[in-house]
């Protein structure tokens, strides 16, 4: 059961609280005295949830994309990668746990995985820097992609970051350069790469591991040049204008597939990815498997060419 409710979920939260209360009463009264009422309320809650998720506006989607109980990179790895072995460090400065990477098998296929991890409680959020990557994280990603290429491993990436870490040390160690090299490494990779934006794809910090052959987004995830909050600061809008700005920026999966910036939308369960984590992880796995199947076996040149054509085509066709 979901324990964290977003603002627009207030009616659902109220309903679910009522169900909880009735269940307790029912237990006390014994032998399912209120069963029929409870099950009626349950189905009402389910309908309410799927209805409100069917018509989320952009800003609500941003909230869902950032939902703390949404499956994160480590959950996808645990659910989809057999015998995952984590590989750490950039061999230059340190290890940045905002990016997690390693080797394993995905449904029988040997793969390399990299992904941004935000953490799910205070301890893990600090460990993973809330998913905000420093240069070491991007340099680790480059090192792992080198490895993938050497051993002919497809790369699966999970993108979930508000943006690269904005700090003094990160700048001193070449944050821009580190991201640029990571984008470049994605684009020159001789093996297939599939990127999935699972939550938030913020700015160059996300593109660093999303310059892939196929880019997919979960139904309620977002992807943008900067978070709406950062864009509002750059364009000097008031805080209360952020939801409207988010809309104008066209950051949803539904917007971006029209612009051909992404290739596929992965549907979420009626109440969002967090309402059925296992189900979501399997659906994501199915989508990755399908996309990989179309690329495995292609020559390195064909793989690079597909990727180049994909990105060169963006904006050249289909805009009104």
């Amino acid at each position: 059961m979901v324990s964290h409710y977003l603002d627009f979920e207030r009616p659902i939260a109220d309903l679910e609280a009522k169900i909880e209360e009735l269940s307790k009463l029912s237990d006390q009264a014994g032998a399912g005295a209120l069963d029929s009422e409870i099950s009626a309320l349950r189905s009402r809650a389910a309908i309410l949830r799927s209805e409100s998720y069917a018509k989320l506006d952009t800003w609500q989607k941003a909230q869902v994309a950032r939902h703390p109980e949404r499956p994160h990179c480590v959950d996808y790895i645990a659910g989809l990668i057999d015998e995952f072995v984590e590989l750490r460090g950039d061999r230059r400065f340190g290890d940045d746990q905002a990016i997690v990477g390693g080797l394993g098998r995905f449904r029988g296929e040997p793969v390399l995985v990299i992904g941004q991890e935000k953490g799910h409680d205070t301890t893990t959020r600090i460990k993973h820097s809330f998913g905000s990557v420093r240069p070491e994280g991007y340099r680790k990603a480059v090192r792992l992609m080198d490895l993938a290429e050497r051993y002919n491993l497809p790369v699966i990436s999970f993108v979930d970051t508000a943006g690269a870490y904005p700090g003094i040390g990160a700048e001193e160690r070449g944050q821009g350069e580190a991201i640029a090299r990571s984008i470049e490494r994605c684009l020159t990779l001789a093996t297939p790469m599939i990127a999935t934006i699972t939550g938030e794809g913020g700015s160059g910090g996300a593109l660093a591991i999303a310059s892939a052959n196929k880019v997919m987004m979960l139904e309620h995830s977002i992807y943008s040049v900067a978070t709406p909050e950062a864009a509002s600061s750059i364009l000097r809008f008031a805080r209360e204008d952020i939801p409207k700005l988010a809309e104008a920026m066209k950051i949803t999966a539904q917007d971006l597939i029209k612009l051909k910036i992404i290739d596929r939308i992965i549907p979420e369960p009626p109440g969002g990815a967090h309402s059925d984590r296992e189900g979501t992880i399997e659906t994501v796995g199915d989508a990755i498997e399908e996309e990989l199947r179309g690329l495995i076996g292609l020559s390195p040149d064909a793989i690079r060419q597909q990727r180049a054509e994909r990105f060169y085509a963006i904006g050249r066709t289909g805009l009104s």
């Binding site: 003094i168 944050q175 992807y223 864009a231 990105f311 963006i314 904006g315 009104s320």
Partner: protein, 312 residues
């Protein structure tokens, strides 16, 4: 396709130091022949004749500033647009203008705040350019090269679809001419009004650089003030050689955002070219007047090495 452009009339001339006109020799101040000064001055409207030094507040005589390539007596390298940059970079200022491609205006129909279309039109009117990127081809100390110049005066040099296409066109032009590419960067980052379409230009420009790499053609970046945001996560940091103009602000996250986000006081000189070179992030800081010589030498050495590569 290319239109020949002579150096702008009032602007400084290129060429070796010995052959520069008197007006330019020795940069600043007294060495300028009064006759020449008056000649230039006559063409200026009075309100444009003096430029306030951003550092000292001193009023600088505009022809003096132009003779000094828009470097103030205090050493500040003022922001300059493509026309001046081409004039200062190419031998004798002579260059072909390679048209920078256009892209659909306002692809997202962005109307929040000042409508994007209006901002674009205003930028076009003030700069006379179609986008924030201009491309020129000419000789740099005798070495043929293609130069891409970003204009900070055009919406903060921000990177949108047209600018991305401009970068790609510059790289392709260099490959077609079998000559190196030099990128003069100046940008506040990706253009927010084009959102993810602007973000995609980071990857698209990076692809264009691969075409230079494949052709073994040098790609040299000159970081000018300011180069921040998205471009530093792309072509501004992917040069074979990274040069910077003195005092240029260079960084991924701008200083204001860093201060706001992490509430740390920034060290003095943070993200300036001089700070970056200490941290090992650029190859050299080159004053504007020396840039053609340094660029020419680098390109000559690299192209000589390339020509001497034994056949495979």
């Amino acid at each position: 396709m290319a239109e020949r452009k002579d150096p702008p009339g009032g602007g400084p001339q290129g060429g070796a130091p010995a052959s520069r006109p008197a007006r330019e020799r020795g940069g600043w101040l007294a060495k300028i022949a009064p006759g020449v000064r008056n000649l230039v001055a006559k063409r200026e409207t009075p309100e444009n004749l003096w430029v306030k030094c951003p550092d000292t507040g001193e009023m600088i005589y505009r022809p003096d500033l132009e003779a000094a390539l828009w470097v103030t007596p205090a050493g500040r390298h003022m922001r300059i647009g493509p026309e001046k940059r081409f004039a200062y970079t190419f031998d004798g200022g002579a260059h072909d203008v390679i048209p920078s491609p256009t892209a659909p205006d306002d692809p997202l129909h962005f109307t929040m705040g000042k409508p994007y279309r209006e901002a674009l039109n205003a930028a076009r009117k003030t700069t006379g350019e179609k986008s924030a990127v201009a491309i020129g081809a000419g000789l740099i100390r005798g070495v043929p090269a293609v130069a891409m110049v970003q204009d900070f005066a055009f919406m903060g040099g921000s990177l949108g679809m047209a600018e991305g296409e401009g970068f790609i066109a510059a790289a392709k032009a260099a490959v077609a001419r079998d000559c190196p590419m030099v990128a003069f960067t100046a940008s506040g980052g990706a253009r927010m009004q084009e959102s993810a379409l602007a973000l995609m230009q980071l990857a698209r420009a990076t692809l264009a650089i691969q075409e230079l790499r494949k052709a073994d053609l040098p790609y040299v970046v000159v970081l000018t003030d300011p180069t921040t945001g998205g471009v530093t996560a792309s072509y501004a940091m992917l040069g074979d050689i990274q040069l910077a103009e003195p005092g240029a602000l260079i960084g991924f996250t701008g200083p204001r955002v860093i201060e706001q986000t992490i509430r740390e006081t920034l060290p003095p000189g943070f993200q300036r070219a001089e700070y970056l070179i200490e941290k090992g992030m650029v190859d050299n800081i080159v004053p504007r007047r020396e840039l053609p010589t340094v660029l020419g030498s680098i390109l000559k050495t690299l192209m000589m090495g390339r020509a001497r590569r034994p056949a495979a």
